[in-house]
Symmetry: C2
Subunit: 377 residues, 2 copies
C-alpha cells in the first residue's frame, strides 16, 4: 500500500501506455517521500542512483535517507554536471555501476538530476540486461516538464545531439517542485522555454495564461505546480498517442531543429548556450520562418518573441556570446539532424500561436536564405 | 519485385512478429544475391557494413559488388575478430561509422560475420538514432542457426557476458551456406552444439536424425541446409512465442548457464574455449545434473555426451586447456548470470532428450556440490 498521503498541492499525471503506463507525481517534498512512493510500487529492494556534481551534494543525502527508511538498499554514482556528460565516456561507468550494484529485474535505476542525468541514466537503464526498471527524479524545470517524460533516452555523438540512444520508459517520475528553488535563474528560464512550447504547439489559452502568470510560475507555489502539471499532461498525451515518434510526437520538436543546430554550432558549451535557450531562439525562428512562408501573421511571431524576452530568454542568434559559424554551416547541422527523410527537410511550422504542424517538404534553399538573413556574416 | 529466383536448394523461414516479421533465407550463393534480396526489400539505397578481419577479406568484396549492382551505396568497417570485440571499445567506432555514413530511416546497417559481429552490429543498429534497420548476413554456423535470429544484441561487460544490449530485430537474415566451407573445423563444431541443442530442447527426432546424419551436415550440401533450416525454424517459433524472454524463450539457454560460467572462467579466451564448446560442456552438465536430481535417466546423459564427443566437441570441464578456478568461483559467475531472480537460481533442466523445462527453484547448494564433484580441486 501507498503510505504517502497526497498533499492538497500535489498533482498526478498518468502516462497511458498499456502495461507500461506510469505515474508522474508533481509537488513539494517528493524527494523526502521517494522511499514510500518507490517501496509501494517496486517489488525489488535495491536501487542504483545516478546524479551529478551540482545535484548530488544537495539532494542525494535526503533521497538516500528516504530510501533507507523503507529498507531500500542504494548505491550512488556522481558524474560531472553538463551536456558533455551525455557521452560514451560517462555511459560506460554508469552501466558498470548499475551492474556492480547487482540490480536485478525487480530492482531499479534512479536518475536524480536534470535532463542530462535523466537521458544518460535512462539510456544506461535501457541497455543494462537489455532493459532495467527506471525511475526519474527530475530536478531541473526542463527535466520536470519535458525530458523525464516519454522514454526518449540517449547520448550525443560527434555527429550530433542525441544520435545514440533507446526508447525506454520510466516506471515512475517524481517531480519535486521544491528543488527548483536551488536551480539557477538561467536554468529555470531555459526550462520555461519548454513550458511555453506546449502553449505554442496547441494550447493558445495556456500561452495566454503564461503571459499573465509567468512571474508567479517563477516564484513557486501553486502557479508553478499548475504550469508543470499542464506541461506534463501535454507531453503525456502526445507520448500516449505516438510513443515512437512516427507522427504527432514530432510536434514536440517545435523550435528544436534550429535549436539543435545552434547547440551544435556552440559545441554544446553551456557557458554560451543551454538547450532551453536554443529552443527559445529556435521557437522564435520557427514563427518568423512561418511568417516568411506566409503561414502565420507577423503579429504572432512578435508576440512569441515579446513573451520569451520578457522572462529573460534570448530570442535572437546574435544574443549568443561568441561568434557563430556561417549560415551554411548551420544548415549542415540541420541536414544531419534526425528530422530528414531522403534529403527533404521536415520542420515544425505554425499557422499562429497554438497552431503548429509538421511540414515535411520544406525547401532547404528557403531555410538557408532565411538563416542568411537572420545571421549575416 | 524480387528478382532473385529461389534455387531448389534454398529454404525460407519466416519469423512471425506482426509488423516486425522478417525472412531468413538459407542456401548457397546468398552473398552474391544479397544486392537483389536487399534492393527488393529496402526503401533506402545506403548501407553500412560491419565485418571482422577474418570474414572481411573473404566476403566483403563479393558483397559490395552485389550491392553495387543494385545501386546500393555502401561503406564498411572491419573490426578485429574475436569475443573481445563485443565491448564498448568497438561499439563506439561502429556507431560512429554508421552515423558517418549518414544512414537514414530507410537505409540499413549490415552485419557480415559470426555471432560476435552480429551481436555488436545489431546493438549499434539498435541504438543509432534509437533504432536503425538491420540486416544479418551470418557467416558462422553458430550465427546462422542461433545468434542472427531473434533480435538479442549486445556486448560483454567486465561483470559478465551479454550484460549490455537491446532487443533489436533484423529486417532480413541471409544465411549463405557456402561460406561455412571456410569456417574452421573447430568453429563449425562449436556451432553444431547449438544445432544439437534444438534437438535436446524439444525435438528428440531431430536429435536422433543428427546422430545418424551429422557427418553429412559437416560435409555440406542438402543435409547441412536441412539442419540449418530446422534450427532456424525452431528458434523462430520460440522467438515468435516469447520475443522478450519472459518464459518459453529461456529454454534456448539449455546448457548456457554452465557454459557462460565457463566462458567467464576462461576470460573469454577463445584459444581455450569458444561459446559453442562451453554450450556443449554445459548441455552435458545440465543432463548430468538433471540425472542427479532424479529427473532424467543416466542413459540420456550418456547418449548426449556420446554424440557431442563423436562430432569432436569437448564434453567435460577438464578438457578445457589451462586450469579452471574452483567450483565456488564458477558458482559466483552463475549467480551473476541473467537467470537469477531474488537470489533463487533459474536453470534449464530436462526429463530426458527433447524434454527440457525451466526450473526456477534450483537450490544453489545442490549446484555447488555438483560442480565440486565434477571439478574437484
Ligand atoms: N529525453 C527527452 O525527451 C529530452 C527532452 C528535452 C531535453 N532533453 C535533454 O535534456 C538536457 C537538458 O536538460 P537540463 O536543462 O535539465 O540540463 P542539465 O541536466 O545539465 O541541468 C542543468 C544544470 O542545472 C543543474 N541542476 C539541475 N537541477 C538542479 C537543482 N535542483 N538545483 C541546482 N542545480 C541543478 C545541473 O547540475 C546542470 O548544471 C539536454 O541534454 C537535452 O537534450 C531530453
Ligand atoms: N544474439 C544471440 O541470440 C546469440 C546467440 C548465441 C550466441 N551469441 C553470441 O555469438 C558469439 C559467438 O558467435 P560465433 O561463434 O559466430 O563467433 P565469432 O563471430 O567470433 O566467429 C567465430 C570465428 O570464426 C570466424 N568466421 C566467421 N565466419 C567465418 C567464415 N565464413 N569463414 C572463416 N572464418 C569465419 C570469425 O572471424 C571468428 O574468428 C558469442 O559472442 C555469443 O555470445 C549470441
Ligand atoms: Zn527540448
Ligand atoms: Zn548459444
Amino acid at each position: 500500500m501507498n503510505n504517502h498521503v497526497m498533499p492538497a498541492a500535489e498533482r498526478k499525471v498518468r502516462v497511458d501506455l498499456g502495461d507500461r503506463s506510469y505515474d508522474i507525481l508533481i509537488g513539494p517534498g517528493l524527494i523526502a517521500a521517494a522511499g514510500n512512493e518507490i517501496a509501494s510500487r517496486l517489488k525489488g529492494r535495491k536501487v542504483a542512483v545516478i546524479t551529478d556534481e551540482n545535484v548530488g551534494p544537495r539532494y542525494l543525502e535526503p533521497l538516500m535517507a528516504s530510501l533507507k527508511q523503507r529498507d531500500i538498499e542504494a548505491v550512488s554514482l556522481v558524474l560531472p554536471a553538463g551536456e558533455k556528460t551525455k557521452s560514451f565516456e560517462h555511459l560506460i561507468p554508469a552501466c558498470e555501476a548499475i551492474l556492480g550494484a547487482r540490480i536485478e529485474r525487480n530492482d531499479a535505476v534512479i536518475a536524480l538530476g536534470g535532463g542530462v542525468i535523466g537521458d544518460l541514466t535512462g539510456f544506461a537503464a535501457g541497455i543494462v540486461r537489455r532493459g532495467s526498471r527506471f525511475i526519474q527524479i527530475p530536478t531541473s524545470l526542463l527535466a520536470q516538464v519535458d525530458s523525464s517524460v516519454g522514454g526518449k533516452t540517449g547520448i550525443n555523438s560527434p555527429h550530433g545531439k542525441n544520435l545514440i540512444g533507446v526508447f525506454h520508459q520510466p516506471d515512475l517520475v517524481l517531480a519535486d517542485t521544491d528543488v527548483l528553488d536551488t536551480l539557477s535563474e538561467r536554468e529555470f528560464r531555459a526550462g520555461y522555454a519548454e513550458v511555453a512550447k506546449y502553449g505554442l504547439i496547441d494550447k493558445p489559452d495556456f500561452f495566454a495564461w503564461l503571459e499573465k502568470n509567468w512571474q508567479a510560475v517563477f516564484s513557486g507555489g501553486a502557479a508553478r505546480i499548475e504550469a508543470i502539471a499542464v506541461s506534463c499532461q501535454a507531453k503525456a498525451d502526445v507520448v500516449a498517442a505516438d510513443e515512437r515518434e512516427n507522427g504527432l510526437r514530432a510536434l514536440l520538436n517545435l523550435g528544436h531543429t534550429f535549436g539543435h543546430a545552434l547547440e551544435a554550432a556552440t559545441e554544446y558549451d553551456s557557458a554560451r548556450l543551454v538547450h532551453g535557450e536554443g529552443v527559445a531562439i529556435g521557437m522564435v525562428l520557427a514563427h518568423q520562418f512561418s511568417t516568411r512562408m506566409n503561414l502565420a501573421s507577423a503579429d504572432d511571431a512578435t508576440r512569441v518573441e515579446a513573451h520569451l524576452r520578457a522572462v529573460g530568454l534570448p530570442t535572437r542568434m546574435d544574443e549568443i556570446p561568441g561568434s557563430l559559424p556561417p549560415a551554411e554551416k548551420l544548415m549542415d547541422a540541420i541536414a544531419q539532424d534526425k528530422k530528414v527523410k531522403g534529403g527533404k527537410l521536415t520542420f515544425i511550422l505554425t499557422r499562429g500561436i497554438g497552431q503548429s504542424f509538421v511540414a515535411d517538404d520544406v525547401p532547404a534553399s528557403e531555410v538557408l536564405n532565411f538563416l542568411r538573413e537572420k545571421h549575416p556574416q
